[in-house]
Symmetry: C3
Subunit: 290 residues, 3 copies
């Protein structure tokens, strides 16, 4: 893939400490995996009956975003030079990859929504948790762009927001009733444990790269890239595979607007599609955000 | 209107290839049309009973955004100089109008939501389609800002996202059941055909202006301006006029929070407003995002 | 708190007319109040039964955003130099605090949603009003960044959007039926009056600072800071305190996904939590965005 490139020749970096050609090659490889996962998700989605694609829709959005973000990074586009707080020898400015934060701004809340919608938390609690994932991402971005020691202030705000997210993921989420039953519950517990653990490794990477300028931008790319692959294709395919036989109607939301006869229409819910149990007499007309 | 201006004198362009005073005059004319359409939509909206303004609300947001975006462009504000890949004679840098993409970022997904909410697609499928309209817009913006040949990579990503949108507009959408009946269906089919055709002309304009630097920024303004007028005021007024007699309650969503007695309240749906059929006994209490 | 600082030494301003060390001290004080209010809201939220935290969730998001924004401003981060239209003596460029507009972009629509969800307006009308609050904020930001007299064009657009918001707050809102009864109604009327009055003082501050360059950036910080404290901690705690005994289920939305037994599940609504009246037989299965 690097034959496409000479990315660094065509889009020359403008910071003293920047990624190498090898780093760009690694990024092309991640781009390829992300792209193939996206294509696979499009195909998988079409095999699901319409109106039961909520989780697949979210996974598709996450993978599409990652593909384009990694394409940009592999092309050596999407970074800005920032004066490093700690110069580490000859460094004056370091590449700060803002495109990475655009990716996370879209993907982190969606990942939490994907996970938490399988629990019994209220939509308002779920969206508040998603907001705190934005706090994490924005504080990481602003902290990375600030040259002085004040960057660590934003880092601390981001960590506090992460604690809020962990408390919801590991504390509140599992204590709710899982309408879709025990399979979903154990899938959720494993999933949320993984997400909590991996999101712990992100701030450590931040401290070593954008924060402390200890590892090189190429090392940063490998570290974040592996984490993005785990929380991206690996986690998503595993989680969705675990949900494949779950009674979709049991999640407690109805993909209300869908009207292929699979769901109760406005006349009171006369039809129920395959793999779909009708709720209660009156409740079938209920509609939700999904 | 150009008497307001000398826009180019007051806000001098900083790129070699920029819009002319004539281009600014054309933009003032478009601004005026957009502004009048916005005012008209505010008035039209007030004639609709509250709780049945979903489509008018969206149209109002689209027209307001266009008005302000065109005001900025007519003022020669909202562009940044970018080194052109193909210099075309003496050009070194070309005005790239990022404000245009901010406009589309808001308007394109809303246009799709407006159209697709008249079909029977699920909300999650509709929002995923809206996400892909963001992919189109963002890839267009990033591609326009990248000076090297890599801009065409983003262009290709944008085209792929457009194919997804077209497949939903022309493939999935018409195959669902239209709760609001045959009038809505034929209105949708004509509307989605128009939107699919016009959205095909946008990337061609991009290739000639931001991409290939073939036509001048003034030519770009005329091309995009006509397309924006067609998908803006023209399409919106036509589409909403087609919906004027449609039974609003039949769309399968209830503007749930509205409580002027026109809708079933939480006590089980005792009242039905004019032009509004109550759904089923239990279903009237159902509430939706609208 | 200013001992943390020497903010101006560590993050030196790059505009001719900028905040003083005293201004930074004031901003540290506001940051502290905002931070304590956020902590208090986290604690208060945990005392509410899950699924009834909609208004507290919104207040928490508003206060978190303000805390981080004021932390940035106190650190002398988040401003950009813009050539002033009126030089006022020796001024050439003035600090324009864009971080302030990021704060409002998040907080202003949420404040309106908080208020208007206690009325009987439809969700689509509420979100349209929230959109116009974005118009106000974005026009304020763009106007502040534009050096020429054209800034006042954006100012006028922002004022027009404010008129729309005031007409909804004071005109449409009170005329709807308040499901939650007279207490909510009078709370809303007082709240919306306050918000309408305070939002009138914001554009005056804008005209004196970002617009006319009459008062200094430090004066601007004090003016906006007091307004943000009134509409932030003061208003939110007062408004939520007024709602503390209101029957939450009466707002006409059900925090649908929540499944601790407090709400009717998909089997038709058999349980009703404390302080929660079941609606109608069928309607209990209804679900909403909250």
């Amino acid at each position: 893939m690097s034959s496409l490139g000479g990315s660094l020749d065509q889009n020359p970096p403008n910071a003293d400490r920047h990624i190498t050609e090898g780093g760009s090659d690694w990024l092309w490889a991640v781009t390829a995996i992300m792209g193939l996962s996206t294509l696979g998700m499009v195909l998988w989605q079409t095999t699901r009956p319409r109106g039961t694609r909520f989780f697949h829709n979210i996974a598709l959005i996450i993978l599409t975003t990652s593909t384009i973000a990694y394409f940009a990074m592999a092309s050596d586009l999407g970074a800005t030079p920032v004066r490093a707080e700690f110069s580490r020898g000859t460094t004056n400015t370091r590449q700060i990859w803002f495109v990475r934060y655009i990716q996370w701004f879209i993907n982190f809340p969606l990942l939490l929504i994907l996970l938490l919608f399988s629990t019994g938390l209220s939509v308002s609690d779920i969206l508040t948790t998603a907001f705190f994932s934005w706090v994490v991402v924005i504080c990481g971005l602003v902290g990375a762009l600030v040259p002085s020691a004040y960057k660590w202030g934003f880092f601390v705000f981001g960590l506090l927001a992460l604690f809020y997210i962990w408390s919801v993921l590991l504390g509140h989420g599992p204590r709710t009733t899982f309408n879709a039953g025990q399979t979903t519950r154990s899938g959720y517990v494993r999933g949320s444990g993984l997400v909590a653990f991996i999101t712990l490794l992100y701030p450590i990477a931040w401290g070593c790269s954008e924060g402390g300028n200890v590892i090189s931008p190429t090392g940063e790319m490998i570290w974040y890239g592996i984490l993005d692959l785990i929380l991206g294709p690996l986690f998503l395919y595993h989680f969705l595979f675990g949900l494949r036989n779950v009674d979709y109607g049991a999640f407690g939301f109805h993909s209300g607007k869908h009207t292929d006869g699979a769901y109760g229409g406005p006349d009171g819910g006369v039809g129920a599609g395959p793999n779909m149990k009708t709720a209660g007499g009156g409740a079938t007309g209920a509609r939700d955000v999904v």
